[in-house]
Amino acid sequence: MKNKSSQFLLLAFLLGPALILFTFFVVIPVFQAAFFSLFKWNGLGPIVDFRGINNFKLLFADEVFHKALTNNLIIVIVSLIIEIPLALYAALIIGRKNFKFAILFRTFFFLPYVLSEVITGLLWQFIYHPQYGLVKMFFAFFAPGVDAPTLLGNPKTVLGAIMVAIIWKYFGFHMSILIAGLQDISEEVREAAKIDGASEGQTTRRIILPLLRPTLMISIFFSIIGSFQVFDVIWAMGKGDPVNSAETMVTYMYKFGMQRFNIGYGSAVAVTIFLICLTFSVFYNRQTLKSEGMTK
């Protein structure tokens, strides 16, 4: 740090590569998406056909997009009422100090998280296979003579079937986050509650859960943001079919943007996804900060 210019050169060397990569491949594309969404464009040749907010009008008038958005919301809600409580209950049990086989449960519950979503999706596609899968065996055992349903081929059941796979893959991840949060709660707090005569249930409800709240809020945040961006699992379990019944916003965007090369329209979908996530993040963080008094 002898003089100004050598300091500048050093900083350029340290920050430069990250700045260039980040700006070029993250920031610029996001702004480009906002720009492209105002045009009708196939990605080739000059971008001249300005349409204003017409892409968004078309988008919000499209029934398939309504379906996709609804599906995303269903995934959010099911995650909140099944996945998170499941993870929380498991964490409260396994996170206890003297629970036997805790490491075994933890390890296996977390395992699906590191598998790729495509592998998860294909594995579950087999489970649901009406001729080979588990579902078939289940029916053969409990209802002999009744044909096993094709859960992934029926518009009414496909999303539910996919949800099972999603929960299977992700609940252990949330459980691990919550267990880490539990470990930050000091043993003294529990001991103190015990000495005061609180039962195990009372301690959990009155002491542990309130202290765990910040971690729980983070877990819920991940779950919701992730639910708005589901793609791989859906793609591996039938690409949003039959008849768009398992479409999500990202599969919808992929179909229009990449398969039909309607870059402008696809970008309008991307911008919509971004705005939904952004609005949610800002609102959620403000609420969380307000109620927690958390720093950062």
Partner: protein, 283 residues
């Protein structure tokens, strides 16, 4: 305490808790178990007996895949390795440098740069994917490893800088002063002190980037058209498309594709969980 913990109410509660955990374990393990054994079965046995042990124990599907008679397992594995190793190396180098500047150097606009990178936490890959595709096409990087490595690295930058910077901030100023007395400048401090001290956080961030890269499907799906460039998730997907009805072979391929992830998981579980929660709690 002893008497309390053996009350009948408590035993009842424990029974419910263990039942719950073992049931959950059964649900988690069953698909993996069926997938693992399925590859050793004949199609007939697959149809009649998904749970049972394979009789005869048929390794032909696995040997077909491993010798390259069917599918392109080794090619996909190699591609996944190249992309992942490339992504990790680049991400770690770039982010160590940047996080060091953001944590240990004093300069005007430091907070601004930090906020700029943290902005990226709000930008999901899906939002940028269409322009990103055009960008990669214009740079003639379609069907090249760099076409996947560069954007993957770019999207890992915010989280990685967040984790590394947090760790670098915690290194005592005394050490830096001592380094300065020994005649080291900032780079000397980084190379001789910060990096050796940072092995835990480097392992954590490295593994997080590895898992994300290894499992990434969306970006390779756009960039790679050439079958010889397909990564494992793409390879598995394409293979399933071609062999729709040979489920025993598909299951064998799925199992093979799972093995590296499971090895990685067993080796690095500690770091994975630490990274996820560290990033989450401090973020």
């Amino acid at each position: 305490m002893k008497t309390q913990s053996y009350s009948s109410q408590k035993i009842f509660a424990r029974t419910i808790q263990y039942t719950f955990c073992f049931l959950l374990l059964l649900i988690v393990v069953t698909p993996l178990y069926i997938g693992l054994l399925g590859g050793f079965k004949t199609m007939g046995q697959l149809m009649t007996d998904p749970f049972g042990f394979p009789i005869p124990f048929n390794i032909a599907k696995y040997t077909d895949l491993l010798t390259g008679k069917q599918g392109t397992f080794w090619v996909a594995l190699t591609n996944s390795l190249i992309v992942s190793v490339g992504t990790i190396s680049l991400t770690i180098v770039v982010c160590v440098l940047a996080a060091f500047a953001l944590a240990r150097m004093k300069f005007r606009g430091r907070e601004l740069f930090k906020s700029y990178f943290m902005l990226g936490l709000l930008f999901p890959l899906a939002v940028a994917i269409l322009p990103l595709y055009l960008q990669i096409r214009n740079m003639h990087l379609l069907d090249s490893y760099m076409g996947v490595i560069l954007p993957q690295c770019a999207f890992q930058i915010p989280m990685t800088i967040l984790l590394l910077r947090g760790f670098f901030l915690g290194i005592p100023q005394d050490l830096e002063d001592a380094c300065a007395i020994d005649g080291y400048g900032p780079m000397g401090f980084l190379m001789h002190m910060v990096i050796p001290l940072s092995t835990p956080i480097l392992s954590t961030t490295g593994i997080l980037v590895l898992v994300a890269s290894w499992n990434n499907f969306f970006l390779p799906l756009l960039v790679f058209n050439d079958v010889n460039k397909f990564t494992l998730p793409m390879g598995v997907m394409a293979f399933q498309g071609q062999h729709m009805s040979d489920w025993n072979m598909i299951l064998a391929y799925l199992t093979l594709a799972m093995v590296p992830a499971i090895i990685l998981f067993v080796a690095g579980q500690k770091y994975i969980v630490a990274g996820l929660t560290g990033g989450a709690v401090k973020g």
